[in-house]
Symmetry: C2
Subunit: 416 residues, 2 copies
C-alpha cells in the first residue's frame, strides 16, 4: 500500500480509525495515472461515430471536391473571351448548354462559347472561369459578358477542401458533428474508434432495494447504481451492473471478477467488519490505495484484480459521487481515449461567504451560484445526496489550503 | 415575408440576386422564438433519463432516509447515560445486540444498555445517540463510554435528505447523474420527461451520393445528413432521414410533409431554378423568412408547413452548419425543453490578428486557439467544410461591427 505524505489519524470520523495513514489525493492520482491506457479500437458506422475518439489518423483517398466546380450561378466560359468586356463593351458568347450539379456537360466549351452553370456544378472541359449571372445579359441563344474575368475566377478547384493523401483528422480526436460530415465526404462509411470501456458496477449492501423501489422499513433504494451508470455514460463508458450484491465475500469477489475493463465497487469500502471489498482486493489482487486525505470520500480506495483496475467508492452517495469524479471518471475517460481531466464546464467567480477547509485534506465543496457570486452550501453530511442537486457545482480546495475568505475568486466546476 | 431592417441587394454573391431584402438575424430569431413551444412529455425508465428534461415537478412521497440512522460506526445508546463520561470517568453500558444496515434490532434499548451499530443502520427504539467507537472501550459483554453525548448526536434524522411532500426537482430541469440518484432514492422508477423532438432531414441534390460513398465523377458524398444527424443528437432531438431526395418538387414536398416535429431542408434553399423548397413552402404553407443578413448562410430561410416549423439550410456544408447552429439547433433545443441559447462552451481571449467583417451582416468567423490567443482562419468559402474541422470554434461578429482589431478580447464558442 502506498503511504501518503499527509497523515490524518484524527477522530473526525470513526470509520476512519483503521486508516493509520491516508494517501494524498496527489499520490492516489499518480498511482492511477501510471496505470491508464487507452483501449483498443473497434469499427463503428459513421452514424454512431459522433462523440467517439478516433483510434488512428484518417487519410483521404480522394480529392474533395473531385472536380473543378462553379462557385456561383452564371456561365462557364473561357476567361480570355472576356478580355476588355464591360458594361460599355459587352462581348457576345454562344450558349451551348447547361450544367447542373451532378450533371456534367456532354461537350467541351470552345472559344466564343458559354454554358449556363449552377453553383456546385462541374466546370465543363475547356472552360476556366465562371461569369456571374449579374455580369451578363442573355439574349436568346447568346449571352453578353459585361465584365472581365481572370482564369480560375469563381471556380472551386479540385481538392480545395481536401486533397488525396492528406491526413484529414488525427488520432485521439473526439469526433464533432462536422468531422462526421468530412468523413462522409471522403467516402468513409465506417471508422475505427476507441472501444467504449465496459464498467462493472458492483454495488453492495444488504439494506439496499433495487433502484427506484419505494423505500420501506429500514431499507433504502439504491441510488448509487443509477447515478454511477449516468456518470459512466457521460464519460464514454458502458455501465454493466451486477445488481445489488449481498454483503458476502464470495458474492462480492465473483462480481469483481466478472467481465469488464474496469470495476467500480460502491459500498463496503471502509474498514468496518462488513467492508469486504478492500480485504478481498488485498487478498486476491493488489490494494494499492485505501483511505485518501479528502472529504468527503476518505474511505475511497483503488487497486488491481486480474490485471484490471478496481476503484472502491464509499457507499454514502455524496462520497460515491465525489470519489467517482476524482478517480473513477478520470480512469474511464482515459480508457475511452478522452482527455482525462475534469469534463465539467468551469466559471471563475468570487465567494459570497468564506469557504472553510482543513489543511492536509482536499475538499470537494458543493456551491451554488447566486447571480455573479459563489455561495458555499452548508452540508450536513456525505449522506445527503440532495446537497449535490441543490448545488450548481463544486470547488476543489487543495490540501495546503485552510479555505478562502469571502470575495476570493474561485473556480467552480459546474454540474451538467 | 418579414422584411429586415438591413437591406443588402449587393452583388457579393450572385445566388443572392433574388433576395431583394434580407432579414436581419435578430428579426429571424424573433420570428422563430415566437413559435417555439416545448413538446409534450413521455415516461422513460430512470436508466434512460439522464440528460432528459423534467416535464413537471417531482414531489417525494417518502422521507429519505425513512428512519433515524447511525452516521458512524459505534454504539446506539441513550444519551443521558453518557452524562459525565470521560477518559477518566468511564461509564459502563450493557451490550444487548448489534444493528447492521437493513437489519433493525429486535428490541428496544433501555437505560444502561447499548447496541453495536454500523454507519447507515437504523437507530434502535429507545436509543437517541450514537457513541463513536473511538470513545469506547469494550470489555466482554460491556462497553465503557469515555465521552459525553447530547441527544441526536451522530444520528441522521428521518427525512434529513428529503422529506415527504417536498419538491425534489423542479420542472424544466435537465437531469444530472446525481438527480437520477435522488429520483431512485425516493422510489421513482419512471419519470415524465419532455419528448425528444423528431427532426426530419430533407437533404436534396441530384449530385449527392449516400453518406460515406466514395465520390465519383462529378458526384459528391452527402456530408450534410450525417453532420446534421450528429448536431440534432447533440441538441436532444432524434434525426429521421428521408434519404437523399431528388431535385423534384413533388418529392421534396412529400418529404417535408412526412412525420416529424420540425423539418430541416438542406440544399435548394436559394433562388435558383432548382431551389424548390422556398417556393414549395410559400405555396403550401408560409415562407416567413428567406435570405438572412449573415455570412455564411445568407440563403437560409424558415417558415411553417402543416403547423410545423421548417428551416431551410443552404446546401454548402459550412453554411449548413452555420444556419443549423443559428436557427435549427435553437429550435430543436427549445422543443426539447432545453435552454435555447448556444450550447457551446465559451472562452474569452484576445485576437492574434484583426478579424474583418462588414457592417450590416452577422459573421460566423471560424477561429483557431493558439496558446492564449484567437487566430481567425483564412476562409476560401462556405464550401470548405474542413475550415470547421481545422477551427476550434467560432466568433459571432454582430451586424453593427466592422470587425475587431488585433488584441481585442473576443468570445469564442468552442466546437465540442
Amino acid at each position: 500500500m502506498i503511504e501518503g505524505t499527509t497523515s490524518h489519524p484524527s477522530g473526525e470520523d470513526v470509520r476512519m480509525r483503521g486508516f493509520s495513514r491516508r494517501t494524498t489525493v496527489e499520490a492516489a492520482l499518480a498511482w492511477l495515472d501510471a496505470r491508464l491506457e487507452t483501449l483498443q479500437s473497434e469499427p463503428v458506422p459513421l452514424s454512431e461515430a459522433a462523440g467517439r475518439v478516433l483510434a488512428g489518423n484518417v487519410q483521404s483517398q480522394v480529392d474533395v471536391p473531385g472536380f473543378d466546380r462553379a462557385m456561383m450561378d452564371g456561365y462557364a466560359v473561357v476567361a480570355a473571351d472576356t478580355l476588355g468586356a464591360s458594361a460599355y463593351n459587352r462581348l457576345p458568347l454562344e450558349i451551348v448548354g447547361q450544367v447542373l450539379p451532378g450533371q456534367p456537360l456532354d461537350r467541351a466549351i470552345k472559344k466564343g462559347q458559354a454554358a449556363r452553370i449552377m453553383t456546385g456544378a462541374p466546370l465543363p472541359e475547356g472552360a476556366d472561369a465562371v461569369l456571374p449571372a449579374e455580369l451578363t445579359e442573355a439574349d436568346g441563344g447568346r449571352v453578353y459578358a459585361r465584365g472581365e474575368l481572370s482564369p480560375g475566377k469563381h471556380v472551386g478547384k479540385q481538392g480545395e477542401d481536401i486533397s488525396a493523401e492528406a491526413v484529414v483528422l488525427a488520432a485521439s480526436r473526439r469526433l464533432r458533428p462536422q468531422d462526421i460530415g468530412v468523413l462522409s465526404s471522403i467516402g468513409v462509411a465506417q471508422v475505427e474508434v476507441v472501444r467504449r470501456p465496459r464498467v462493472r458496477l458492483v454495488v453492495t449492501g444488504d439494506e439496499l432495494l433495487p433502484p427506484g423501489s419505494t423505500p420501506r422499513g429500514c431499507q433504502i433504494a439504491d441510488s448509487n447504481s443509477p447515478m454511477l451508470a449516468a456518470l459512466v455514460g457521460r464519460d464514454g463508458g458502458v455501465a454493466v451492473s451486477s445488481g445489488i450484491v449481498p454483503d458476502q465475500p464470495e458474492a462480492i469477489l465473483a462480481a469483481m471478477r466478472d467481465e469488464a475493463d474496469i470495476i467500480l465497487v460502491s459500498g463496503g469500502s471502509s474498514v468496518g467488519q462488513e467492508d469486504y471489498a478492500p480485504r478481498l482486493l488485498a487478498q486476491h489482487g493488489e490494494l494499492a490505495i485505501h483511505g485518501v486525505a479528502m472529504r468527503p470520500s476518505s474511505p475511497a480506495g483503488m487497486g488491481q484484480l486480474d490485471g484490471r483496475l478496481v476503484i472502491l467508492l464509499p457507499g454514502n452517495p455524496v462520497s460515491c459521487l465525489c470519489a467517482y469524479d476524482f478517480f473513477a471518471g478520470r480512469a474511464i475517460r482515459a480508457l475511452a481515449g478522452r482527455d482525462k481531466d475534469w469534463p465539467h464546464r468551469r466559471v471563475k467567480l468570487p465567494l459570497s461567504r468564506k469557504l472553510v477547509s482543513v489543511v492536509g485534506r482536499v475538499d470537494y465543496a458543493r456551491v451554488k451560484l447566486e447571480g455573479k457570486s459563489v455561495q458555499p452550501l452548508a452540508i450536513s453530511g456525505a449522506s445527503v445526496l440532495t446537497s449535490t442537486t441543490r448545488a450548481d457545482g463544486f470547488v476543489i480546495i487543495p490540501a495546503n489550503s485552510e479555505g478562502q475568505p469571502e470575495g476570493t475568486e474561485v473556480e467552480v466546476l459546474l454540474y451538467d
